[in-house]
Symmetry: C2
Subunit: 297 residues, 2 copies
């Protein structure tokens, strides 16, 4: 099996499609496969998903950061989503034949080159973080572009690579490595937001729930329903089925049924097979038994 790394960079541009297209094109030239890209006008932000061999992914990420830096001016950027730079967050994700350690090394090499070649300050986060307080993206991004500009020269906010001052237009960038994230939403047969919030609290790690679950209650106005919206940040240790069945268990306390679920975006095959094996009570199942996997082997 060849080595495969996924990269999901977020850019601070969600209103000018020609800019996002230019960023995507810059990456695509480096021999990676663009899997998806989306824009959000309110957030004024775009998310690109691509994958390829580690070296190609490194070059593509660098090319996209360079393109974003040339076309986005953070001094003029407004949007609903927290951000500190034109290329805001760039995570590497091990997908196949690659360890997390290799993705961490890739993140550090990219950080070093972004600092040297583009003179943009770089923060390392999640698995690539150099200090525990930088693991969490929200902590790195505290104060956003405007606030970090004031604080960047303070010792505790100095970047891991590059100058201790913001790039005049591109700001700063957060680079790191993490596991695949699954966006999983469970819709409930009630319009009572208190129920959705209570279940979200019961599910999420920080309030005593499952270790690798982030959860929020969300209102689905058109449907007159509420939703428990989750991010599963380590599906190997907190699988989809466990999150769903725990939502069901908590909802039963209020006499509320699960009416449906959705997985948003891409999901690794192993995450799906793992949950199916639970429901089927499989004693022995290997992904090599999937006809299409065997065909592509």
């Amino acid at each position: 099996m060849s080595k495969l790394v996924e990269c999901v960079p977020n850019f601070s541009e969600g209103r000018r499609p020609e800019v996002v297209r230019a960023i995507v094109a810059a990456g695509e030239k480096c021999g990676v496969k663009i899997l998806d890209w989306t824009m959000d006008g309110d957030h004024n932000r775009s998310v690109v998903t691509f994958a390829g061999e580690p070296e190609a992914v490194l070059e593509a990420a660098l090319a996209m950061i360079r393109e974003a830096a040339a076309r986005i001016n953070m001094e003029e950027h407004r949007g609903a989503h927290p951000r500190i730079g034109a290329a805001d967050v760039v995570p590497f994700i091990p997908i196949g034949g690659v360890t997390m350690a290799e993705c961490v090394a890739l993140a550090r090499r990219l950080g070093e080159r972004v600092a040297r070649e583009l003179e943009i300050p770089v923060y390392l986060y999640e698995e690539a973080a150099t200090r525990p307080e930088r693991r969490n993206l929200a902590d790195v991004r505290r104060g956003e572009y405007e606030g970090l500009k004031e604080e960047i020269s303070r010792p505790e906010r100095r970047p891991d690579f590059g100058p201790a001052r913001m790039h005049p237009t591109a700001g700063a960038v957060v680079i790191g490595a993490r596991k695949p994230l699954i966006a999983f939403n469970v819709n409930l047969g009630t319009d009572n937001m208190a129920v959705a919030r209570a279940i979200a609290r019961a599910l999420r790690a920080k309030d005593g729930g499952l270790t690798f679950v982030k959860a929020l209650g969300v209102e689905l106005k058109d449907r007159h329903q509420v939703q428990v919206s989750m991010n599963l940040v380590d599906y190997e240790r907190t699988p989809i089925y466990r999150a769903l069945e725990l939502v069901r268990l908590e909802a039963a306390r209020y006499g509320v049924p699960v009416v449906g679920t959705e997985i948003v975006g891409l999901v690794p095959l192993d995450a799906l097979l793992g949950s199916l094996e639970y429901y089927l009570q499989s004693e022995s199942f290997s992904r090599d038994q999937v006809l299409e996997v065997k065909l592509n082997a």
Copy 2:
């Protein structure tokens, strides 16, 4: 998506690995991908699974039948499994970008060439059958090699292609087209064979169960358990989850739990995703959301 046909020929040789290897090699030369091959000494039979573009699969099947005919003598063949020829059964299965009608056409073209080039009588079965009474493989194979040899000249047993006499060493061959078959076993927390048999009857089509399920009770002596062993012959219309949950429902009547299940051999991704969508109550899920599917697209 390119056109993809699977072929799962069965050969009357399960004791001489060099013969099976030669048969496999003859097919492999035609540019198909060998996915699996297994031998069974008691049955004196082997099963090969391969896939590829339709024309390559046709040539590979022909080459394997030719090789089997040259190396297997049905006059000397003994084994526990019913059979009528050296190459005994050759089904084509639509896997991707191919209709059942195309697989039926492929089966007929192969039948015509086997008859003409190898002088082996050919029967068409399942979706490729020319008469309703030949759809079912067991009916075509009635009397086995020895019995068919006597009856082949009778009008009702005349082959679809080729001479109305057995090939002196290779016998006859059954060629056809069918949907993918899933071998799915459910293990029960009891050693009571009466329970396994009763559940198998409740599940299988011919006794009032699910239309596309064949089921048998099987004893698992080493485990002191029994099993409902099923073939799901149309997973789109009778999916895995429905068979499993119906076994569970029937077993509950006897206070017997499902202790585990197994899928034997290869299974199409869509069959797995379809059942997972049931358990997750998915409102919208597309196979394009599977990262690996998207990557290979």
